[in-house]
Symmetry: D2
Subunit: 358 residues, 4 copies
Amino acid sequence: MRLGEEIAVTLFGESHGAVVGALVEGMPAGISVDAQSLAKDLSQRKPGGEFASKRREDDECHILSGVNEGFTTGWPILLLIANKDVRSSDYSFLPNHPRPGHADLPELARTRGYSDLRGGGANSARLTAGLVAAANICRPIEATSDWQVEAHVHSIGEVSSAEIETLPLGEGEVWDRIRCRDSAAGVKMIELVEQMKVEQDSIGSSVELRISGLPLGFGEPWFEGLEPALANALMAIPAARAIEFGRGISASVMRGSEHNDTWFRASDGPLPVGEKADGALGGMATGADIIVKLHFKPPSSIPQEQVTLNLDSGEVETLFVAGRHDPVIAPRAVAVVESVARLVLSDLAVKGGWSQDE
Amino acid sequence: MRLGEEIAVTLFGESHGAVVGALVEGMPAGISVDAQSLAKDLSQRKPGGEFASKRREDDECHILSGVNEGFTTGWPILLLIANKDVRSSDYSFLPNHPRPGHADLPELARTRGYSDLRGGGANSARLTAGLVAAANICRPIEATSDWQVEAHVHSIGEVSSAEIETLPLGEGEVWDRIRCRDSAAGVKMIELVEQMKVEQDSIGSSVELRISGLPLGFGEPWFEGLEPALANALMAIPAARAIEFGRGISASVMRGSEHNDTWFRASDGPLPVGEKADGALGGMATGADIIVKLHFKPPSSIPQEQVTLNLDSGEVETLFVAGRHDPVIAPRAVAVVESVARLVLSDLAVKGGWSQDE
Amino acid sequence: MRLGEEIAVTLFGESHGAVVGALVEGMPAGISVDAQSLAKDLSQRKPGGEFASKRREDDECHILSGVNEGFTTGWPILLLIANKDVRSSDYSFLPNHPRPGHADLPELARTRGYSDLRGGGANSARLTAGLVAAANICRPIEATSDWQVEAHVHSIGEVSSAEIETLPLGEGEVWDRIRCRDSAAGVKMIELVEQMKVEQDSIGSSVELRISGLPLGFGEPWFEGLEPALANALMAIPAARAIEFGRGISASVMRGSEHNDTWFRASDGPLPVGEKADGALGGMATGADIIVKLHFKPPSSIPQEQVTLNLDSGEVETLFVAGRHDPVIAPRAVAVVESVARLVLSDLAVKGGWSQDE
Amino acid sequence: MRLGEEIAVTLFGESHGAVVGALVEGMPAGISVDAQSLAKDLSQRKPGGEFASKRREDDECHILSGVNEGFTTGWPILLLIANKDVRSSDYSFLPNHPRPGHADLPELARTRGYSDLRGGGANSARLTAGLVAAANICRPIEATSDWQVEAHVHSIGEVSSAEIETLPLGEGEVWDRIRCRDSAAGVKMIELVEQMKVEQDSIGSSVELRISGLPLGFGEPWFEGLEPALANALMAIPAARAIEFGRGISASVMRGSEHNDTWFRASDGPLPVGEKADGALGGMATGADIIVKLHFKPPSSIPQEQVTLNLDSGEVETLFVAGRHDPVIAPRAVAVVESVARLVLSDLAVKGGWSQDE
């Protein structure tokens, strides 16, 4: 439940408990905190959107420590979001009827029945609200540096967007509804999701992340490197099943002469040049964009009858999960992916001494 | 350079320095250590194989602390492997001519010129010898539990193997040469690699990893979970560019009704059933096999003329890297992938109290 | 702000902020939580007692996550205590008039003016409420094992108690007022403290801690050992200036023939025998009692005129600190010392696998 | 076995194993390494001195990684010292006859008989050689800052030195023999130790440590603060039994009006003034000297007959421990105390960003 070493974020809370949130340790003193920006970031991932769960949460985030007169103090920052619209009666089938595709049963086994399984308990994607809140506090580190983090919906089912680096920043109605910067693809994605709702099914999706402007050498080697650290943090987002960097899985069918990026001189220093040139080598930034694709499975909660094991009787029974769930993950995950990337980069920036120029 | 929390492995050394190796902390006392098994594991990844670098190292591993009369003592275990066949003259083009696709230049920037870049320095895949040695010490933890770790070459270029779970264990000539359990595919892989050598080029590849037998609930949630922990550790293997779990990138085009695995009752407890049913949900084991695909780019060192920036003059110049390098990564990476998985699982086993039944 | 590795407690909050509290990570699932016991422990250290600060806080502790139906879930436990009776106007002399003996000025320098200094900010002993709350959650670990933690006031000024192992458990009026188990000494201590109040001064004190019943070999070596871990945690209690184990500073004038404890056989195993035989050797328990003395300076806030530097003018000026402060530290520190010891032992118990017999 | 977070030192080795040493992680790149200085520091604590163990070790330290052309590279530094003069036959009484005052028996219990007990195994003070070597690498951090670390023998038995701040730096014959800067006291100490050898006994002692020149605000709060971090690290030195900061145990009999140090203005900023004014408040430096006294018990190995339990027979038997041991600890501990303080300060310097002015 702890992400990062220098800037360490510990998530807490349960989907149907009193609160969710994050404790942020190691944030430098003197970083300005902006309540409006925090509310806006949280609104990007909050439930209740068009294609999102019908759970209604205002997701107001209380900053209870570590901030004084609008600036971080260097002490632990407690970020607290109350759970309000909880309908635990929806989960009366637990613990005896574990949902297909959910962590109910492994969690039951792991904690010997002691954890709160309702709504996914502490495994719920609701806890990503704490990640988004924590990442918002890190935004000024990014602003005073030159790097930028952007993500959007790359694909839903078979509908794919153009490449992120060729697209304008997201805005307008299609963006608001589906978080894809390619309007043409976005319209088709919306149609597909609407069809899923009609068919009482859900659909897989992917998010593309672009990190630009990292200085040459930013990062750490081996297990703390850019790709391993991002892979760790992003694969922890519920429902993530695969992650690709740069040319991703295509790299495994390429030749060296084709894949190698040549070092050229750009206006502000050396830069590797190539089609989708690697933005990180050996865990460290090259100056080129880091392009990441994160693939999500379709949401496991679907509004149709399924079968599962009745743990009590040992029989397979039908199960209908009411709940209020999303037919697709990527649109709400965009804000989470950006937040997780921001946390990883901020941690690496402090670790490597890159954030201290301010 | 540190992997794991309960069983923590810190790598050290440089490709052209005196040694490489690992310090292993947290290993429980009383684990038997087998010098022959250690030598065998190291031989699987050592340079000098048919399609491997021509560097000759006997890779004898000295255990200098933490083992007493054949058993671990519970104290730090120092594993030391001397570098012998170092030809540093091959690297006289550094630091001014950073190699395409290598970490030379980011590393130069990160350490302000202080690190030893020859042969990739501490970023070299040679340091994976320390991972293999450390993982060997963990083997008895796996043996007393019921889980198993196996990997093989899944693809080289466009040549793919059948699925790992359908194949016999690796043995025989094709296995020895290329580490693919599918002999028919293996023969074609060998041809392809030989062709690469003729063409003075290199080729991408992938390794498939199968973890079977983990008990239901094994693992941890969120950032320490099975998938995030494996993604972190495996993506740190030099040249890894993408990682897939279960149905991997295919999951992002599937529907929920299709992707959801149903819980059924197997002989020894509940089990999710489905095509490539997920072996981990929310970071915890389901009882099904965990299937991982790790994609490697083609080796960046190719025996043909390339161009790069001369940092001194600011001009682009041709560069021919002599060195002794592999035309493909997967065959030697099989042992490393297995080792890394073994380290991650051993760490999680101690963390979750699963290893203490012995 | 983080204590422990397996059971890790992170404190948060400020003396004059909204809350204080603790986030507890790593607590095993299935530990029963008792709200009454929690309230009782907190009442032992809360302000408002006879010789304590006149600040009135009910110190009600809200458990906001990690506990389900009365048992820990194995997930992070958020313990929150609201600040209510805050009189920040008392601190209008800050930041320009740093108080003698307080951390105001070093903290101002360390955080470049960004932290909240009122009432000591996050350096305030008020944050020990979080330690006491967190330690209460660990009590059942102690109950299912055989060890016990007890502390009492050993001395105030020149008035000393008899040795803790010769005294009955604390109860009755003297205990309630001054937390000394030696009634005769306690009466004199009360007189001394009352005299201090008359003289508008404060007085130094010490707490004695006795840990009994640890099994032979409990603990870890070197920096994580019993004495180093206890020294670290106990010396972090505000105003602690010295710590002694076993024969303490007397050991430095003794001879080996006199100091060495002989191993004899007790009813349940080997035991070192000697006058104040060492309860820990090399960081590990011997079976004998561990006796610790923790020495506190007199409270720095005294209700008389003092002088300090005006940082603005650079002149030395008189300063009268109103506030509401204790004339002696040990009586309220008894609960904190016990709590800190309980946290350290619980962490070591989990680390060494001693807590898993339940 | 791991000290520090930013600069982390992990000790390894056993007294009668192949090696002892340290792995140093987190050292910034570009720190110059001086082999002569390293040898000199190690010679200060090495066995074979006049009043030291007769074990002869040249204590040559091999730097096997992390240093390139005389400078640190930023990668892990492996420091290795071979054990040469091992006489394991001296320890044939183990494991069945645990020595009084030693960790033999708790260690035997803790590791269920698997660790190497000869010469104290990994609990041996021989492992402090790794601390001294690691601290030497940190010396340039101290040199480029303004702080200084000095220690000397404060007392042996009842013979005490004058206060360290009143004494010249150590040199000359008395210093060489006994490491006390007060020559008059040193002469008496030498006499006392010689008498102990005649009487086949050992004697307790203490070391005084003075840290001067830390900038105001240097350090961290709570458990990572100067006093708690130093207490943790110094109490891990074998045989340490008590530690005092500033006025130490005397503080517990003082009044606030007497103990409080007033902030005055010194030439380069505010400074607390008082008799032995506290050099640290709340874990952070005040600008005044930090004075620490560390009390050691007499060495437990004495060349006379003792009694102990025969674990095999359950009977108490006489035991004569041959070995080669010191009659007093402080003289050899001076170098270790300085080294440990240097490591703690270097770690805090990196943590707080104080070391980056270079």
